[in-house]
């Protein structure tokens, strides 16, 4: 279905691009088409970072400026071939973007908006001050576009060239969107914590999209300058920047097609208003539509069209029911390395304070390989803090945590996941902007390798790896027993089923150690029973399990080893029978008087 959709969208789009100059061959309309094509390269770039990863970097126009000036200066003053100038501009832009990307993309939300805007406005201010850009007047007399001396003199030729670049941008965008990096970006958009927990390198992918988007904006800038035949500091000004963002939102921020549509919206609206003789209304209508789209239909025009298409297709078959029936043969042993001698996880005198509160105070325990270990204790015992210390969510104040003999307390959550430590969340952190199957595929991230270059070109290896990832994710879903939910969104599922998706996602990491934070919370009795069975089966695969659990009853039938915490300290640990008989444990759970009675 999804493949058909992409295919049909591609065909319709190509058809439209080809039909336009045939239907409207006059030079005015070709000019309009050229502008739209040139801008489309930019708006696709906007989708990559803003749309997929929800990073509010809105300084796209700054990169068009660099590309535009590179083209203008190189062609006019140095007589460089326009195509070479364009490539040189794009390379320069990408290098500069790379230089500022990592620090700037650490910022988020509104702070990121302001920082990217500041970069743009600084460039505008500088371009009108320095001499080599021609100051406020800029550069005039830019030649027509040419490739290696071959003049693209006719308007039709330039139209084809502009849309060729736009379509290349769309192709790159689509290839990224449906790859492991596309999933990683959506994961980042939904929850950086959960993205880190499956080993997604958040900064890396943000930087890559920033740089690729910069390259697209730069090419777009070069093309527009060839069309305008001049460049000055205000060609790609603040209004232009806002137009790119609002246009892309209206076109549909969440898909690459939305970016291309966004360019058509920007230019189409401008032309329409010119025809209606009310050109000044552009900003009001663009802004108004943006607000309206965000409130009513955040997926924009592209999402709207996609939904219409789905509705036509959905009439064919009835919706499948979600059923739970685990197939424990779906996964085979997870122990691929030689087992380490000694404990898999060692916590040595771990401490963490919040102000004066010692949430975890010099706690030590060990988790033996192949075991199911439970960390229990009453509310406020420090279990969750301990859990977060192990996952790298919180830094330690003192002590050490070792995994397979290696200290991990200084590692960020993402590196801990890369070592083969999977986790589930008490309050569920699923990626609701993806299907259930894609959620589980995200879990495979640490085991997949294809890089950004292979993905943009969609080399054969990418396809192969995607297929393997899909199969592995399906196997994990079969193992937890969730059938018929592959194409659904997590939020469409019942709570208990969502929990299974999360477990499947964690299993997709092929974890050596699985950390589960109160996995039974929110489940009913029969679901809890099924969960216990599932956990036993996971342990049977060779995965070591560490449970944090509040409810003692679940733990008792399941765990080999129990660690009891109270008031931030370890009270005791040992085999279940021993811990259960310990009067201090009974006291902590039932209150001192009852403990005295029991004794």
């Amino acid at each position: 279905m999804a493949r058909h959709k992409t295919l049909i969208a591609t065909l319709v789009f190509l058809l439209a691009v080809i039909a336009y100059p045939i239907l409207l061959p006059d030079s005015y309309h070709l000019g309009v088409g050229i502008t739209a094509g040139a801008i489309a390269a930019s708006t696709v770039g906007v989708v990559l970072l803003l749309g997929l990863a929800h990073q509010l970097a809105i300084g796209q126009a700054a990169f068009s400026m660099i590309g535009g000036y590179a083209t203008a200066l190189l062609t006019v003053q140095h007589g460089v071939d326009p195509f070479i100038a364009m490539v040189a501009g794009a390379v320069l832009t990408m290098v500069l973007a790379y230089a500022i990307a990592a620090p700037i993309l650490k910022l988020r939300g509104f702070v990121l908006v302001m920082a990217t805007l500041a970069v743009h406005l600084m460039l505008i201010a500088a371009a009108s001050q320095v001499d080599f850009t021609g100051g406020p007047i800029g550069v005039t007399g830019v030649p027509k576009f040419a490739v290696f001396g071959l003049q693209v003199g006719s308007e039709l030729g330039f139209y084809c060239a502009a849309w060729l670049f736009a379509l290349i941008a769309v192709a790159i965008g689509l290839n990224i969107d449906r790859s492991r990096i596309g999933r990683a970006l959506r994961a980042i958009a939904e929850s950086e914590t959960a993205a880190g927990s499956v080993g997604i390198d958040i900064t890396r992918y943000k930087v890559q999209m920033f740089v690729i988007g910069a390259g697209m904006a730069s090419v777009s800038g070069s093309l527009l300058v060839h069309y305008l035949r001049a460049m000055d500091p205000n060609v790609f000004g603040f209004s232009y920047s806002l137009n790119l963002v609002t246009g892309t939102i209206i076109g549909g921020l969440l898909s690459v097609w939305g970016g291309a549509l966004g360019a058509v919206v920007i230019i189409g609206l401008r032309e329409l208003l010119r025809d209606l003789a009310i050109p000044l209304w552009e900003a009001v209508i663009m802004g108004g539509l943006t607000v309206l789209v965000l409130i009513v239909f955040p997926r924009g025009l592209a999402g709207f069209i996609g939904d219409l298409f789905d509705r036509l297709g959905a009439a064919a078959g009835p919706r499948r029911q979600v059923q739970v029936s685990p197939d424990f043969s779906a996964l085979t042993s997870m122990t691929d390395g030689a087992p380490n001698p000694g404990p898999l996880l060692e916590v040595a005198a771990a401490s963490r304070s919040f102000g004066n509160l010692r949430a975890v105070n010099a706690v030590s325990f060990a988790v033996q390989p192949g075991s199911i270990t439970a960390l229990i204790g009453p509310n406020g015992a420090g279990k969750t803090t301990m859990f977060n210390l192990i996952c790298g969510q919180l830094p330690l104040n003192g002590g050490q945590i070792r995994f397979a003999g290696r200290p991990i307390q200084a590692l960020p959550p993402r590196d801990i996941a890369m070592l083969g430590i999977g986790r589930t969340f008490q309050n569920l952190q699923l990626f609701d902007n993806m299907t259930v199957l894609e959620n589980v595929m995200c879990g495979r991230h640490r085991l997949t390798r294809t890089g950004i270059l292979a993905i943009t070109a969609r080399l054969p290896g990418v396809r192969r790896e995607e297929r393997a990832t899909t199969d592995a994710a399906r196997a994990c879903l079969r193992f937890v027993g969730l059938h018929g939910a592959d194409a659904m969104r997590p939020s469409e599922l019942a709570f208990g089923h969502q929990r299974l998706v999360e477990i499947a996602r964690a299993l997709a990491l092929r974890p050596r150690l699985l950390l589960m934070d109160e996995p039974a919370s929110g489940l009913n009795d029969s679901e809890t029973e099924a969960l216990a069975e599932l956990i036993l089966r996971i342990a049977a695969l060779g995965t070591t399990v560490l449970l944090v659990e509040h409810d003692m009853r679940i733990v008792m039938g399941l765990a080999d080893h129990v660690v009891v915490m109270d008031h931030g300290e370890k009270m005791t640990d040992g085999p279940v029978a021993q811990v259960r008989a310990d009067p201090r444990v009974i006291g902590a759970y039932l209150g001192q008087e009852d403990a005295a009675d029991a004794a």
């Binding site: 509104f110 702070v111 500088a126 009108s128 209004s239 965000l294």
Partner: protein, 295 residues
């Protein structure tokens, strides 16, 4: 150092700084009660200045024009909250912020259509006179700017400290959730605060217009520089935001005077960028992350 040059930079710097301070105040107030940093904040200033000038040029009595522009700013703020932010309240931060970007674009567009492209001006509140501080020459309007800003700030702080509603705003800024549980009507409060920040923004635009003119595209500069002021002040306390705003005004003036007036914007935005890169991480943690003001 040349004292008269110093004063000639310092005092006008304080004047524009007053506007940035009022914008910064608006940012912080709105962020505290709604968790949203309002991208349209600078547009209120632009709108107020342009509207008052247009009304006055159209024959509306001077003080009535100012009053109407201020009220229009209040209405615009309240309208933004009710029409555009309330519907996306429970959506991701990302959507809320982009919505305010859309609103900013609409305000720019409406101003352009309704009042035209040309910069507009107002006469000084008490004529076009000038006065001297040592050798520094200043328009008399500067006194109005300083006085009005001081009065507005006093009124705002009185509101925050002495009135029931103001205390509720402060409660929200400390802990939105807890304030709600204590029975603070957050919905109504947001409308009030957006109206107040719209009004102070518009009034800031009005008082500065006799000195710098106002046109439809001026909002972004006010917005960015006010934001810088707010963030220098830690984006938390209203008074720190005010000092941050004044500081930006001075930075801009001294940058223009001692370095180059052409590089003024470059310097201010450079400082903004450098500060965000150096300290931006701070705004992602702790309390600010909770209220969402840094997001």
């Amino acid at each position: 150092m040349d004292l008269s040059l110093f004063l000639q930079l310092l005092l006008p710097g304080l004047t524009t700084g007053c506007v940035y301070a009022l914008v910064a105040l608006g940012y912080v107030l709105c962020a505290n009660v709604s968790g949203v940093v309002n991208f349209a904040q600078g547009e209120f200033v632009m709108f107020g200045g342009v509207l008052a000038s247009w009304l006055f040029l159209g024959g509306v009595p001077f003080w009535l024009a100012i009053l109407l522009a201020t009220l229009a700013g209040a209405a615009l703020g309240a309208l933004q909250e009710v029409v555009t932010l309330a519907p996306v309240r429970h959506r991701p931060q990302f959507i809320q912020i982009t919505t305010t970007v859309g609103v900013a674009v609409v305000i720019r567009g409406i101003t352009l259509i309704a009042f035209g492209k040309d910069p507009l001006s107002l006469p000084g509140f008490s004529g076009e006179g000038i006065f001297f501080v040592l050798d520094a020459v200043l328009p008399v309007q500067s006194l109005w700017v300083w006085g009005a800003t001081a009065a507005l700030l006093l009124a705002t702080f009185f509101f925050l400290r002495r009135t029931e509603t103001g205390r509720a705003v402060r409660a929200c800024s400390i802990n939105l959730q807890a304030a709600r549980l204590m029975g603070v009507n957050a919905e109504r409060l947001r409308i009030v605060v957006f109206a107040v920040s719209g009004a102070t923004g518009a009034l800031a635009g009005v008082i500065i217009t006799p000195i710098v003119l106002s046109s439809w595209d001026a909002g972004i500069a006010y917005g960015l520089k006010g934001f810088l002021g707010a963030i220098l002040g830690g984006f938390r306390s209203a008074s720190a935001a005010v000092f941050g705003g004044l500081g930006i005004g001075l930075l801009e003036a001294f940058g223009a005077g001692y370095i180059s007036s052409g590089w003024k914007d470059f310097i201010v935005y450079g400082v903004l960028l450098a500060y965000l890169l150096a300290r931006g991480g701070v705004f992602l943690r702790g309390r600010i992350a909770q209220t969402g003001a840094g997001h």
